[in-house]
Symmetry: C2
Subunit: 337 residues, 2 copies
Amino acid sequence: MPELRKDPIIGRWVIISTERGRRPSEFLPDEIRTRGGFCPLCEGNEDKTPPEVFAVRENGCPPNSTGWTLRVVPNKFPALRVEGDLNREGEGLYDKMNGVGAHEVVIETPKHDETLSTLPTDKVIMVLKAYRERISDLTRDPRIRYILVFKNHGAAAGASLEHSHSQIIALPIVPKRVSEEIDGAKAYYEYKERCVFCDIIRQEMGHKARIITENGGAIALAPFASRFPFETWILPKDHSAYFHHTQPAQFRDVASLLSDALRRIESTLPRAPYNFMLHTAPPNETDEPFYHWHIEIIPILTKVAGFEWGTGFYINPTPPEEAAKYLRKARFQENRG
Amino acid sequence: MPELRKDPIIGRWVIISTERGRRPSEFLPDEIRTRGGFCPLCEGNEDKTPPEVFAVRENGCPPNSTGWTLRVVPNKFPALRVEGDLNREGEGLYDKMNGVGAHEVVIETPKHDETLSTLPTDKVIMVLKAYRERISDLTRDPRIRYILVFKNHGAAAGASLEHSHSQIIALPIVPKRVSEEIDGAKAYYEYKERCVFCDIIRQEMGHKARIITENGGAIALAPFASRFPFETWILPKDHSAYFHHTQPAQFRDVASLLSDALRRIESTLPRAPYNFMLHTAPPNETDEPFYHWHIEIIPILTKVAGFEWGTGFYINPTPPEEAAKYLRKARFQENRG
């Protein structure tokens, strides 16, 4: 059972794999299992993953067989386990608990050489709907306090498989980074009685310099205090705290803007690795006027080094206004969806 | 002038280089200027760095000439500038200020192929003394609120020059990561009336499983909630909030343990990149009973990915108890100092 341990000074939790630790010799330079090798996420290899928990299949073909357009499966090497109780306990001055939670993989396409940015909009909508399904389902587990959806694209962004996929982790606590964002948004709302994200959208739409692209329902912008070069946020224009409460009609605009933003990033920074994270309010609470779900995309172009680790500060060599300019004028193939 | 910008939601500051932003084409795969190439930090190339602000020289040879064992010079490409006023101002709902501060490079040795772990203890003491000198000097600037000393070793740890060096950044604000640690330590002290770091040292010395090595004045341990595999903390055994108030006699034990810990890491994980950060209390305050300066060393073996960015949580595949076991039994050449 993995173990959750809390830093006694700053209260940050860490997941420690206690079953069989990675030895020094196992930290070899990264290799991504590439085209030449075997890929457990490709169509035809359904028996190489744990049984699916959700899938989009045509013509009623049976689960865990071919004929799918999207599958969600438990991670074969999960960071957290679904079985068991939380069992909080102490160890002298330290705190720990069982690593209870869920860790799933969203296989976005059956084809090895497609990526989220080459998929037609209809299929990107399907991916967002799969996120919503899984969040709604995992939310029903009373041990779960937060669900994070994220994507690692490229080896330098932490992807260990090349085949296009995203991940879902359900956690037994609300993580620090999330509660900081919630607390900050709440403090702003208490002072202004307005959602800080709605205010950001309004100011950016007036100012224009940091807008990358927009459509009727969503906006993509380079945030004012971007930590990373070409950092891109995608926000629905209408206020909504929970991603999984979003109406299907809104999905089209967000999906098409996500696809558009990823194409702009790929065309401006060819083959750049990136991460994206879905930021949504912790579930099981009443609708929140202060929080606004969104997606943060960070291309991995610089290294996190001693300065960042020591301060929590970031040094960004490309002002967001310039990043937005490059991304606005990016040339790329039109969306097929 | 670089610009400091504050994220309006979570209050995190970012340094934005506004003078001439890095373009997309400038984010090419890393190359470290290696042995074959020209090194501006080597002895004989003193005119290729800005004039030194501190040096250890034998026989009174003139500044910025050969004959030194250690030099501190301003960074040629500083993240912050020494000139100018702070000028806090708003931009709609956003906050920003001038990037005032200092950014210096500590050249730890005149020889290109020596590293902090191969230097004799006497020279490591010299490096720590140089940190103390520079912190004491920068503390006198009333615009400065925090001074961070850190080291990036290896390309994957963010080093852009191979020659052994560390860096000092003086900031006009106390960064988030530092105030979180201060606040956490203060909360513990208010509850227990004991320093949390002193309590950690006591518990670890009783328990033994996470101790890597120790001597009369200092201890090296794998922290209970290690974020990274083989993360190593070095703490002076005697309570002291400020690194720059440490007495010269204490330096020998800390320096010798730092050197010992780096040798153990290098022997266990050959050529592993690493960062280390000196954690010390913000200067210009009265002596603090709740804070305890220390050094955190993090080998760079895993990738920070979407999960970490989204949660602030870390997944560590090597339990600290196992890491400590490997580092305890590491075989390496004895310290020459």
